[in-house]
Amino acid sequence: MLKGALIPRTIQAFAAFREFALIAVLIVFSTIMGIISPVFMTWANVEAILLGLSVEATIAVGMVVLLISGGLDLSVGSTLALTGVVTGLALTSLHLSTPASILIGLLAALGVGLANGLLVAKLKINPFITTLGMLITVRGLLLVLAEGRAVLNLPKEFTVVGQGRLFGVQYPIYIMLFLVIIGDFLMRNSRFFRQSYYIGGNERAARLSGINVDFVKIFNYCLVAVLAGVAGLMITARFGSSSVTVGSGIELRVITATIIGGASLSGGEGSVFGAFLGALFMGVLANALNLLGVDVYWQNLVTGLILIIAVVVDVINERRKSQ
């Protein structure tokens, strides 16, 4: 009799081990922090953590899907800023309505994703090079568009997106949680989204299996770009202005979160929930170091070490399993 069918679904997930480990670490860490610092467990602090990571986590949902399919996008920070600036200009210079301005901002993001996707899937250009080029190009485009200045004085109808509350919780947190839950559900259950695991696992075999590899790849680049656009709207609305420098370096923080969460740069592995836990872990860590009065410069050092440890643990596990 074959096993497998009898094992509960929940622990069959590709990165089950990583997700459980992260949850355990988070619980232990938070308990210790709760004892050390009376502020840590207050709702105000928890909300600050969630709000702080909402931008990274939102992009991470798209990034992990892209990484699973064997892709990579370094241009998300530029795309984020582009959406903010385009929406801001639409509101202030063109005097368009809030929904129309948001739509135009997201279309700009979609354009970047489409360009990335076409270059990678159709012209077979390396994703790293393609999106590195796009990172620089889009940032340059921004400076031209906004003439190097921030777009200020955004209307209240728009800023409410990033500042409004429902049941005492800020909107960006709802948006992030909604995307994480939907994204995780789709990656586990939807045929279309699961094709990404096959493409990242073995692209040539995926092609022979009748999977439309090019289409899925282009879709994934568009997905991460649009989610970067959503993140851009959240930041812009929160601050009430769109800056041309916002989001620099965010791509590395997002990729770090997904890898801590179990994704692999060589594709085929990872989960949306894992990526969220990775981002949460980084958010909690930064917050804890702040509360403990540790110098802000230490945060990068610690985050870097955590990333390396996570990857080393992965490699050791793989080796033990293959023995």
Partner: protein
């Protein structure tokens, strides 16, 4: 059991000098005794064949001899001295070279740089002297009567040429003992015979070979003695001239296999239901036309590069075709992608299961459902997980894939079980026309018999199989008809009643061409 005493007559040997002796070698990995007290002796200038099913311990044994693994117990005596190697480089220094199944070539470098990796001729500033390098390579290749440009990048060579290059690279270090682990798996008949010719020459110069193979017919062509292993143990030692193929097979599997290829349950139905007309792609295949009958296994023979694989891939829509039409059940079908081919019941099983057939890092379950995802999803595109488990379990049972769980990664399976997984994957789509490229490459005898049996069942259900193979014995054993291709064109067709290896080979080599094809350009 066999009553014959292992024969140690020396008259067939070119020399009686012992080169290498293994004494009571053992090696275990967690959970398996891979090699269990195996002893063997290799004499100067002899080719010793080592056979056994996958998992019999041949590869581990030779890895110990070649320095890639360390034995748990036992001794190795080389040239009269006990030796102990820490690495393959160590063994190579001493004079034992090994050619692994997995290719170790750097594909982005030239032929010359691969052969002389780390040993390039250098000038005073340690700079590589390129002209000398190319010249030396040219001379070296000339000795083996191989026409290969030393400057050509390895990635532009065919699989067969790469495999030959791998062997030459090992020979270039001038070893006393050369261990070859399935060197002919992607070679054509012509390439194999040229390899054997060169081996015989080197044998005359005193080089000794340990030769691992799954193709038993090769043993009778090249080896003087054969050692059989099963479950890590030494089973027996025979002089090749005194043993039969079926005797070797029963020693290998530990039971009698009456007929490897099985017998057809009936004749093909004589109703042609699939037809290819004038299929062409410049530089690959020209004007290929043929029909397939229900219940028929149609073989495609030819040398590597004859265009058989390219044609199969074009039918499946993975590669482009310039012109030509395809008919299924009398109606023309347009196939522009694998997706469309699968939908119409036309499938292609690749010759390279590791590189493009399977998802090695994924579980068996995710592999076997891959081409059937659409059928296993609801109208809202959500996967039906209960159905998937049932579907995968069913296929694993049907193909008797030997695994404790459908969640096991395909990577951990033996070659035979991997190939069965590939077959399961495509049988799940319930195909009508199956293009099977090299059905049993790198698959042991036991699993081969099972795969052949499965193919018989598929045609008994009224489907047709197009079987592309470089193993002529396999084609002759399985097919109802064999089409032979040469330089992209069909050269001849041979019916079961007229099967002869000579005739097929003469078509494949382009020595003659059937009249009905001569009218074609």
């Amino acid at each position: 059991m066999n009553t014959r005493i292992p024969c140690l007559k020396k008259d067939w040997q070119t020399s009686v000098n012992e080169v290498l002796r293994a004494e009571q070698l053992s090696k275990s990995f967690p959970g398996v005794q891979a090699v269990d007290e195996v002893s063997l002796t290799l004499y100067e200038g002899e080719v010793l064949a080592l056979v056994g099913e996958n998992g019999a311990g041949k590869s581990t044994l030779t890895q110990i001899l070649g320095g890639a693994q360390r034995q748990d117990s036992g001794r190795i005596i080389f040239s009269g001295q006990p030796v102990s190697f820490n690495s393959p480089e160590d063994a190579m220094q001493a004079g034992i070279s090994m050619v692994f199944q997995e290719l170790s070539l750097v594909t982005s470098l030239s032929v010359a740089e691969n052969i002389f990796a780390n040993r390039q001729p250098v000038g005073t500033l340690n700079n590589i002297r390129w002209n000398d390098l190319y010249q030396e390579t040219d001379q070296f290749l000339g000795r083996f009567e191989l026409e290969l440009d030393p400057r050509k990048l390895v990635k532009n060579l065919s699989m067969g040429q790469q495999q030959i290059l791998e062997v030459l690279k090992a020979i270039s270090t001038n070893p006393k003992v050369l261990i070859l682990d399935e060197p002919t798996s992607s070679l054509t008949e012509g390439e194999i015979s040229s390899l054997f010719q060169n081996m015989r020459r080197l044998q005359g110069e005193g080089m000794s070979f340990i030769y691992i193979t799954h193709k038993l017919s090769e043993i009778f062509q090249i080896a003087s003695r054969v050692v059989v292993m099963r479950d890590g143990k030494y089973i027996g030692d025979r002089v090749v001239s005194e043993v039969t193929e079926s005797e070797l097979v029963s020693m290998m599997v530990g039971r009698q296999i009456a007929n490897l290829y099985g017998t057809a349950s009936g004749e093909p139905s004589a109703t042609e239901y699939f037809r290819v007309e004038n299929l062409s792609r410049k530089g690959a295949f020209q004007d290929v036309s043929f029909g397939l009958q229900r219940g028929e296994i149609l073989g495609f023979a030819g040398l590597v590069g004859a265009g058989r694989t390219e044609m199969g891939r074009a039918i499946f829509g993975i590669d482009r075709k310039d012109s030509g039409r395809i008919f299924l059940n009398g109606a023309e079908v347009k196939i522009a992608s694998p997706e469309e081919a699968i939908e119409k019941g036309i499938v292609y099983l690749t010759e390279d299961r590791k590189a493009e057939g399977l998802f090695l890092d994924m579980p068996i379950r995710e592999n076997v459902i891959a081409p059937s995802l659409r059928d296993l999803s609801s109208r809202l595109d959500f996967l039906n997980k209960k159905e998937i488990d049932r579907f995968a379990t069913n296929l694993v049972t049907k193909l008797s894939i030997n695994t404790p769980s459908i969640l096991k990664k395909v990577l951990t399976l033996s070659g035979g079980n991997q190939q069965k997984t590939l077959v399961a994957m495509w049988m799940g789509t319930e195909p009508k026309v199956i293009v099977f490229d090299e059905p049993t490459r790198g698959v042991d005898v036991g699993a081969r018999a099972e795969i052949y049996q499965k193919l018989r069942e598929i045609v008994a259900d009224g489907n047709g199989i197009i079987m592309i193979s470089s193993d002529l014995t396999e084609l002759v054993g399985m097919c109802d008809r064999i089409l032979v291709m040469h330089q992209g064109r069909i050269q001849g067709v041979v019916n079961r009643t007229d099967f002869s290896e000579e005739l097929i080979l003469s078509y494949a080599a382009g020595l003659n061409r059937m009249e009905e094809y001569q009218s074609l350009p």
